[in-house]
Every structure is written in C-alpha cells, then in structure tokens.
Amino acid sequence: MITTKNLTLKFKQATILQNISVTLHKGHITAFIGKSGAGKTSLLKCLANLYHGFSGDALYQGKPLNSLTTQQRVHAVGFVFQQFNLFPHLTVVQNCVQPQVTALGTSQQQAQKKASEVLACLGLSACEHVYPNQLSGGQQQRVAIARALVLEPQVLLFDEPSSALDPQATQALAQVLKDLSKTGITIGLCSHDVVLIKELLDCVYLIDGGTVVDQHYMSDGALCTTSLIGQFLGKLEE
C-alpha cells in the first residue's frame, strides 16, 4: 500500500532518517517503535507528505506520494496527530464537515450526513455541537479520527495515539483501531505503549538513530525476547 525505499531526510546538517525502507500492507496495522527522537514521527510525516525535502522514494500504490493530486492524497493518507490539532474555532461536526467541503467539494448537506454517520460510529453523536476544548482527551482523539475518516483515506497514520489517554481510553482506542483495520483500512502508528503494540500489531519496525534496526511480522510467530524489538518492549514494560 505504502512503501518507502532508501528514504533519507536531512534538516540542514542533521540526518533525521537514513535509508529507511518500510512497507505498510493493506488492512494491516504496522507500528514504528523506538526511543524519543529516533525519527518515528518524522517518518510518519514523510508518509503523510508533510515533509517534502527527503531523498529516496515514498510510494503509494507504486506512485510517488508527492505526485498525487490533493484529492488523491487525501483519499490515500489520513493523519491523526499526537496533539490532535482539531480546529478550535469550529464545533465537532464543523471540524468534520469543513474538510469534505473544502478539499473534496462535497455539498454541505452530504458532508453533514457523512460527518454525523462517522461521529455516531465513534460514539460522538452527543458531542456534535460542542467545541473541541469542551471535550476530554479521549473524545478529542475520536473527533480527530472521525475528521480523518470522513475523507475516506486508504491509509490512516497515528502519531503516539495513546500518549494523552488513560488506560481505559487506550483500550477503547485499541478497539477502534481493530475495527478500522477490519474494514480494510491500512494503519500505521508510532507508539511507546506496550499494551497497544502487543494487542494490535501485524508488523513492528524498531527505529534507532534514524534507521530501521529490526523488524518483525506477527504472522512469523511470537516475538523473540532476545531480538532487538523484544528487548526494547521488555525495557518499556519495566
């Protein structure tokens, strides 16, 4: 679905990512784990086409991500930010309606209907007309997911999705991610949450110093505790 080949990202003199080659398979949940500053968020931002100055390839269904039109791009990749980045001057439903009208040219009526459906699926019907700052962290995150989903992306990227959530909200998020994955949406996330990682993943990449140092497909069997990923998760659990 999304592939990077030898992706290298530099800011001035500093190398943020070096020769990263990863694949997010259709309908799978892929995680990028690693220490803070390892380059996980930068990689996700490259996949969302938020960073343009990288060398190497970032491909969506074989096409370079930066060659997609705006409409193709929003249908290809959605992004849920760590801080959610909801538009604070718009209500929850307006946050979900405006992107459809603005980016896709959907009629106001259709956009409203779609937004209400998606918000209902995520249990947010009662919050439609409130502002983001009146919601809890977990609710804000679900609004951010809804805002991304109304554009019907094939790939949904999450930056540290459980960092602002309590254990209960994290469980609820895990369920949402599982349900999304079942509908065929490809999910990529970076996280430090061991529970979330162990419960959800189809594939894990361990990133350190801007390069992939280990990877593991869950379909290949249980994770070996002596592997680099196993050791990293073990340290997180401690």
Partner: protein, 226 residues
Amino acid sequence: MTVSKTCAVMYAWLPLIVQGTVMTVVVSCCALLIGLCFGVIFGIGNCNRLKHVAWNWFINFYVVVIRGTPVYVQVLIVYYALPDVTGINLNALEAGVIALGCNSIAYVTEIVRGGINTVPGGQWDAAYVLGYSQIKTLALVILPQTLKNILPALINEVTALLKESSILSAIGLLEVMRVAINISEKTLDPMSVYLGIALIYLGLTTSISLVAKKIEKMLEVGHDYH
C-alpha cells in the same frame, strides 16, 4: 465652574465641533481601512510560514522606517515634501489619510504577523493533511484563530490612530483638534475648550473599547487549544 464654562463653550461652538469630530472620525476610518488592507496582506506575507526573501526585506524595511520615525514627521513629509518629488498636490485631507494610513500599515503588519505566528504550527499541518490549499488554510483555519488573538492589539491601534489624527491639525485639516485650537484662540479660554475636546476623544475611544469588548465576547467560545 470649569465644567459649566466648558459646557457653555461647547454649546456655543457646537456646529463647528461636530463638523471637526466628523472629520476626525472620517480621516481615522479611511486611514484604518488603508492600514487594515495592506497591513493584513503584509502581515500574512511576513509570517513565519509564508515569508520569502523576495518580499520579506521590503516589509521589514518598511516597518522599521515607519515605526522608527515620528508620525508628525511622516505627516509633514507627505503634505509638504511629497508634492515636490512627485508633482502631485495633495489637500490636507488626502495627505492626512495617506500619512496616517501608511503609518498604520506598519503597526497592523506587526500585529497580524505576530498573531498568525501564535497559531500552533500543527494547525497548518492539519489543514495540509486534510487537503486545504494555502489560501483556504489561511482563510478558514488560521485567520479566524488569529482574529481572537490580535483583537486587543488591533483595538489599541484603532484608538491610537484616532488620537494621532490630532497631529493633522499641523497641516490645517479642520479636524476636532484644529477646531479646538481655532476656538481657543477666539475665546481665549484654552482650559475649557481643550477639556471639552479631551472629553470628545475620551467618548470616541471608550465607544471603540465597548464595541471591541462585545466582539471579544462573541469570539470567546471555542478557540483554546486544549
């Protein structure tokens, strides 16, 4: 005693004072319009996300020059020196509006630039990911949030502009300050006249503040980032 004398003078010269007050409001509104139109454009062009060497140096140079020189000097240059250079003769009203407008542009530019820069960068990123063009990002996401941030500073600029318009009395524009000077010379009672004029300025600036507070209340809902 002074209050009753002030009332008597104001009443006696009421038509002229009203005429002067209207002129003050007109010249301030015109200058503000110029300041807002160009100041918003310059402020947007000079914000962190959109600044470009092609225009950045010009905007910065303009702001430094205007903010670094007294508005009085700017008014005199536009009224007396500019016609010599350009050959275009300006009357006091035109020169006053241009001078105050150009002065206001510099201040509004800085207010808008600062306001846009206070909107978190994540808002730009979110709009990009959601497929907004740069113009739509500005119009639908960034500027509505900026407005609330900059409203108090903009109101300061409006009231400053209104008060600064009194400087135009130096080039003979019959705004309320020039009217006061004329009346004071005729009545030889500067205390009563200037006290009355001060009350007129106070009334105008207070009205602006009251309207601003209402607008601020309207914008109060939503907007916090957490």
